[in-house]
Amino acid sequence: MTATGIGAAVRRKEDRRFITGRGHYTDDINRPGQAYAYFIRSPHAHATIKSIDTKAASRMPGVVAIFVGADVAADKIGGHICGWTVHSKDGSAMKTGPSSALANGKVCYVGDEVAVVIAESYPQAKDAAEKVVVGYGVLPAVVDPISAAKPGAPLIHDVAPNNTVFNWHLGDKAATDAAFAAAAHVTKIDLVNNRVMPAAIEPRAAVGEYDSGSESFTLYTTSQNPHAARLVLAAFCGIAPENKLRVIAPDVGGGFGSKIFIYAEETVCVWAAKKVHRPVKWTAERSESFLVDAHGRDHVTHAELALDAGGKITGLRVHTIANMGAYPSLFWSSVPTYLYGPLLSGQYNIPQIYCEVDAVYTNTAPVDAVRGAGRPEATFVVERIVELAARQTGRDPVAFRRANFVTSFPHQTPVLFCYDAGDYGASLDKALELADYKGFAKRKREAARHGKLRGIGFSTYIEACGLAPSQAVGSLGAGVGLWESAEVRVNPTGSVEVLTGSHAHGQGHETTFAQVVSERLGIPIDSVSIVHGDTDKVQFGMGTYGSRSGAVGISAIVKALDKVEAKAKKVAAHLLEAAEGDIEFKDGKFSVAGTDKSVPWGGVALNAYIAHKFSGQELEPGLKEGAFWDPTNFTFPAGCHICEVEVDPETGNTEIVAWTAVDDFGVVVNPMIVEGQVHGGVAHGIGQALYENALYNKDGQLVTGSLMDYCMPRADHLPAMKVGTTMTKAPSNPLGIKGCGEAGAIASPAAVINAITDAIGTEAIAMPATPSAVWAALQKAGRSLPHAA
């Protein structure tokens, strides 16, 4: 390992601009002559639009234009799309109806975009919006998916009877039922996976611009995947063909899934820029973000686990009702299906699994991927029911898990995935040691002495990352391939630009990607620049989500570097007057095997461009190579998280007193950055388990509509964390990387709830486990004081 190569905790190259306030986020961008957009949103969860009167508003100071649904419809501008077609059990395709960037005749949730006011300043746009009069015919609304699927519920889209998007299933029902019929013990559990909001601290923003000379559009936007945004805006929203549409996603202040999707506001800003012949800027206020950025989770699940007499798991049955919100969104249908059901085997050898998912429209914000996307929901089911089964059958939860671990690889689960590498016992052992599991009983006694209930909770999770092999996801309904691209441009002086289709919004790609290139080419890390987030620079890419940038994005770079090295060896062979096959490349030097003849990297780079030492007809001048990498499998990061809590029985307050995470991410490029990803993911999961709950009232009003009401975890809510790793290489990519961005959010909710239920001795706790919920559970169970237990 070199000081800046793979495995080194290199300090981040991107940090200087962020810590000095010189980053460039979308809202920092201002274009000459720009006007400002303010969106008028539905205050009703479900209503027809009877009339929109803009006359008074259009006379307000500074108003440039006001557009409504009919205006976007006249230009055939499309609305929300989902890029993944899921089929129901009966073979029918999911039920999605037409939608519009600005509502056309009907609104389906609070926040739905009804009209846009464009004015000289944002306050003027907002003032004028007050004068727009919208006549609504209020309809009954339904916000919970169980009620929504019942006959007689308000119908949200005509194409979807009973508001049902699909009834999907996975696995062998008959074989699973047979496993249950033969079971010695069956554990049953009912779970709610609470609805969460992504809440990146940077709100979404967009600046749309139109150049009438070149007849081309530019959209600056807060995107995790600018090329996908361009593709959707071109092919589905009808803004402009891709060659006339540039999408730039500059510095982006966190994504967590919410910035994958293409929303109405970005679409309208770029479309309206041509209508008003001026750049149009919009930046969400936090309350707008909470209303319309896609929410996450929101499952109601019943699960059953079958055991034989010896404590081996023989089957798992899961039925989930998934709240999909009011409209499709880009990854929408894949989250409660293919990112969920195939994860239900966890780290365990489960011979039979059957999973059914009913996906239901409600009058709420669309529900799509939030950090983990389906995998946290699956892990919560598996790790809660496994824990409960151990408790019910009087088995030690650690021993029970270990006895059911998958131990040989490859392992084909009954639910699609083939786990290719892992060592679940190793991560469990290391976590137990780091957490001092042996000392837990003593710590519990000490806690009891000062009136606290101490509990310990495990989550031995698995995730499927490195999204994803294109043919595989295509066979499951994905509309796109999930490969990644890279281009390595070597300059004549030997410095390098790497263009990547991945997009960084906190992950530190400018550092980690440069580490890989620097080590491979033997050049200083400062000689490597990473370019991303601009469709005019990077030809195409699939962006960053699903912990894919390391496993897929870096693999594309490695593949391009292979080509660069091969070409450079041809140049070196000419320079060294040797056969190409005799050229070796090591430590930034090309040499002739068995001799002391060599030429440094910079010499080869320069000569590739000067092209004096070889025939330009036999060998093309220049040194620039591109590659597309399509993975051969998902990657399967896995590990063990251990949470220790102390519950105050007087108040129901839960304090997380220790957190241990041991993860197998395969090869780690930068351990400092990987640890940071784990910290953030765990915080996200603890937030879901203890604090966060996106709550609608029965009329469809978002009750948690601001940071005053939606409890994001703050520093004093969270513990310091012990983070360790184990390592089995991912066999499906050249460096053996598995991915780390979502692990914490996937693993942690189950660990927290397992710890609380261990502490309080009752299982009846839902997320978020607020003090009042825990206190009520304690009262109900009659276990208010530790010494009484």
Binding site: I19, T20, E202, P203, V252, G253, R286, H505, G506, R714
Partner: protein, 165 residues
């Protein structure tokens, strides 16, 4: 519109602003100092924290017109543009106390004010309590807490060195 005169990052500034203009809007939109960020609309997130007369203030919660004669320091003014970083900035970099960077300017200026009020030896508990007004979604705060403790110590040793000189 009304005029307000104040000092921003050591420079005298006079601006004509609407009476409802907030300090953060003055900084970002009038002065194009975009290092101060807006993350919410309820004074919760702390991405907009700047120092006003040396004290940490949420710039989304102060009207520009309230700041006649005030001395405002935003993140851009904490260290010279091409010079060495402030010890607290350096500590955030060294301890990986930031990921997306959006909350970072507010975190750093909150930390500088924390040191002014609480001194150079800050324990984890104090730091976590003092960060009550700043939200980060990326880091889980673990490394922010480490960074602030290290930055506080570095500010102390820097001050001690200066005094010795």
């Amino acid at each position: 519109m009304a005029a307000v005169s104040l000092t921003v990052n050591g420079k005298s500034v006079t601006a004509d602003v609407d009476s409802r203009t907030l300090l953060v809007q003055l900084l970002r939109e009038h002065l194009r100092l975009t290092g101060t960020h807006v993350g919410c609309d309820t004074s919760q997130c702390g991405a907009c924290v700047v120092l006003v007369n040396g004290r940490a203030v949420k710039s989304c919660t102060v009207l520009a017109l309230q700041l006649e004669g005030a001395d405002v320091l935003s993140i851009e003014g904490l260290a010279p543009a091409d010079g060495p970083l402030h010890p607290m900035q350096e500590a955030f970099r060294e301890n990986h106390g930031l990921q997306c960077g959006y909350c970072t300017p507010g975190m750093i200026l909150t930390a500088v004010d924390m040191v002014r009020r609480k001194g150079n030896e800050l324990d984890d508990h104090t730091i976590r309590e003092e960060l009550e007004g700043n939200i980060c979604r990326c880091t889980g705060y673990h490394n922010i807490v480490k960074a602030i403790a290290a930055g506080a110590r570095a500010m102390g040793s820097g001050a001690a060195k200066k005094a010795a000189e």
